[in-house]
């Protein structure tokens, strides 16, 4: 097995009295599509900025492609592609001018980068002369990805590339990432959307500067401790309130069409007991055990939301 593409050891970073990253350690394997999943303010952007040498950690060490992020910054910058979370292209330049600009900054040309970016750029080509600022959200993301790839990097850092992007464009964007990964590129990506975690080889759950776990998506979901019951009722909100008032309820959450419920007790017969409790409240429901999702695990591990 080749050397890891990224190694982070106890990386910590504070901003005044806020601990943005708290003793974060992980590694990314070469060729892996590795995802950081968590809400805004979790530390994802700070971590990415440290890894692409735009920010120094207060303590701990990190390396990218075997190069130290604090000492070897110029060597790293030539080898990484970075797509920041905020739209960072020039809105007044056209699609092709943006690409030319980023290519020239890295001392290369759009033509030389074309083999790498062609699968993405082909979708943008009809709009080559359009101002970048006048593109739709999904197309902006594809242009930003093209600009991050034009110098043929060995590793790609994408900070929330799909935030604010509609569900269809998000899916297409992940299809592009899967294709790039298939061509051997190492990709580190962050997202606030739990449903995107499944598209990664491995995911790190991140919240308030701490890693809540790093594993393959299926293993993260399986690591949920206890059993999740799905409560199916046409009166979802009333059922939620009734279960909040149930003495055996551990947690109950809205989950898409239905509710996810965990009980303080262990053992058989719990589902029937929940059905009976709801019935005494005049609510008809089906209650069945289901396999937990990554979002269930995240909620379980994140603890109480931050106080105001």
């Amino acid at each position: 097995m080749s050397a890891p593409a990224v190694v982070a050891e106890s990386v910590t970073r504070r901003f005044a009295d806020v601990v943005a990253l708290d003793d974060v350690s992980f590694d990314v394997r070469a060729g892996e599509l590795f995802g950081f999943v968590g809400p805004d303010g979790g530390g994802k952007t700070t971590l990415f900025r440290i890894l692409v040498t735009l920010l120094l950690a207060d303590s701990g060490r990190a390396s990218v492609l075997g190069l130290d992020v604090a000492r070897d910054l110029w060597a790293i910058r030539r080898k990484v592609g970075y797509m920041p979370g905020r739209f960072s292209l020039y809105p007044d330049l056209s699609v092709e001018e943006n690409l030319q600009f980023f290519a020239s900054v890295f001392g290369t040309t759009v033509e030389a980068g074309m083999p790498t970016i062609a699968p993405i750029y082909d979708q943008l080509a009809p709009f080559a002369t359009r101002r970048a600022g006048a593109l739709s959200g999904g197309m902006k993301q594809k242009l930003a990805l093209s600009c991050a790839l034009v110098h043929h990097p060995e590793i790609l850092f994408l900070d929330e590339p799909t935030t604010g992007v509609d569900a269809v464009s998000r899916r297409e964007f992940w299809d592009l990432l899967a294709d790039l990964r298939g061509r051997g590129l190492t990709i580190v990506v962050s997202t606030p959307y739990m449903d995107e975690a499944g598209r990664c080889d491995r995911v790190a759950l991140i919240q308030r500067g701490r890693l809540l776990g790093v594993d393959e998506p299926a293993a993260v979901a399986r690591s949920f401790s206890g059993a999740v019951l799905e409560v199916r009722s046409r009166e979802r909100y009333r059922a939620l309130l009734a279960l909040r008032a149930f003495e055996h309820t551990d947690t109950v959450h809205l989950f898409g069409e239905w509710l996810h419920y965990t009980d303080r007790r262990a053992g058989n017969g719990i589902a029937a007991d929940v059905v009976a409790h709801l019935r005494t409240n005049g609510i008809v429901a089906d209650v069945t055990p289901i396999a937990p999702t990554i979002e269930d695990t995240f909620i379980q591990r994140m603890g109480a939301p931050e106080a105001a």
Partner: protein, 249 residues
Amino acid sequence: MTGVAIVAKGLTRRFGGFTAVDAVTFDVRAGEVFGFLGANGAGKTTAIRILTGLLAPSSGAASVAGFDVYREREAIKRSIGYMSQRFSLYNDLTVRENIRLYGTIYGLSASVIRARTDNLLERLRLGESGSKRVGTLPLGWKQKLAFSVALLHQPRIVFLDEPTGGVDPVTRRQFWELIYGAAGQGTTVFVTTHYMDEAEYCDRLGIMVAGRLDALGTPHELKERFGAGSMDEVFLRLARSGAPAGAAA
């Protein structure tokens, strides 16, 4: 409040040769949680700007809270609340100052503002944080506060434009419970989201594709109609069927 909160009939808006909203017809019932979905550039924002009195339509008819979108736009603005992820509150003002500012803008008296402020802070369990600058609050709290402030003048309809983007999964759910609470009191909620699990939380959904409203119904109905297991799938099929690439509305 009973009856219909929003009616749109053949609502159309053109920008030059581009039809951003194309003969859209739907209604939203009073007290309903209505989800308004669509790909980026499908015309959602233009439609919302018309329904909130910020933009006149090119043709067609619509009324919001009983007021006409051509002639009674100021009355519409007084009857609705609005929040988005981008524009919500002033970071450099405290929680109480933000509430007072919005209350004053909506013409509430000082005593009403004071009473509703105390009530709002207590309901959100923000009592200790009234004198904190909003910029120092976690995102989820800002969004919960912004929602409550949008309801301060007790509007009949509240428009929420991607209210939960980037918020953690527990706070996101707490936000939806605030929405249900408001709907339970009779407030009509018109909400956009990119989270497909949140589409399931709505009573009914309208889905925009390339300027047209291509689907309208409860999440359950839409899934049955499209033979789909999830709203994600419904959305994918619809949007793939008609979305033009590239252009923004």
